[in-house]
């Protein structure tokens, strides 16, 4: 299963609120 990562936290927060879904934020410093 491929995860569709969002890079815009504000957009994701707005979508989470609109869809009443929880949100996961992964903070990373791993090399690309």
């Amino acid at each position: 299963m491929t995860v569709q990562w969002n890079k815009d936290a504000d957009a994701a927060l707005a979508e989470a609120k609109a869809t009443r879904k929880p949100l996961l934020i992964d903070f990373s410093a791993a090399p690309a």
Binding site: N6, A9, F27
Partner: protein
């Protein structure tokens, strides 16, 4: 809804969400309220168990007692050997109590801890309910 925040791309997010170490993972409810924080690496099953605990916590904090009870039970069923399993036992019992107002379940939880996870802090917390 997954968000990726890399320190080179979005350093402001680290400050905004008080992420001071990596990896850090937050589970937030739909209102953006943090319900779980995982700091540091975890093996796959531990990590999955933590995330599912976060989702169960979201349900619990929104007073969706039946959903929370089912989700904590699911953590326990899927990841019985993880570090969060005793916490799932505790909160599954509390969710059941919240849903039914039947206080006897708390004694049953304390009894369950006599059989498993005896050394966990959650067994200590539940010990006050023992018959």
């Amino acid at each position: 809804m997954p968000v990726e925040a890399h320190i080179k791309e979005h350093p402001a997010y680290f400050h905004r969400f008080d992420a001071v170490w990596t990896p850090t993972v937050l589970v937030m409810d739909s209102d953006g309220v943090e319900r779980l924080r995982v700091e540091g690496y975890l093996p796959r099953d531990e990590f999955r168990a933590h995330l599912e605990m976060g989702l169960a916590r979201v349900a619990f904090m929104h007073k969706r007692w039946a959903d929370a009870e089912r989700m904590f039970a699911q953590v326990l069923e899927r990841y019985p050997e993880t570090k969060v399993a005793p916490e799932a036992v505790y909160w599954r019992g509390v969710s059941h109590y919240k849903r039914t107002n039947d206080h006897t379940v708390l004694g049953q939880v304390a009894d369950e801890f006599k059989q498993k996870y005896q050394d966990s802090v959650w067994a200590q917390k539940a010990s006050v309910w023992a018959h």
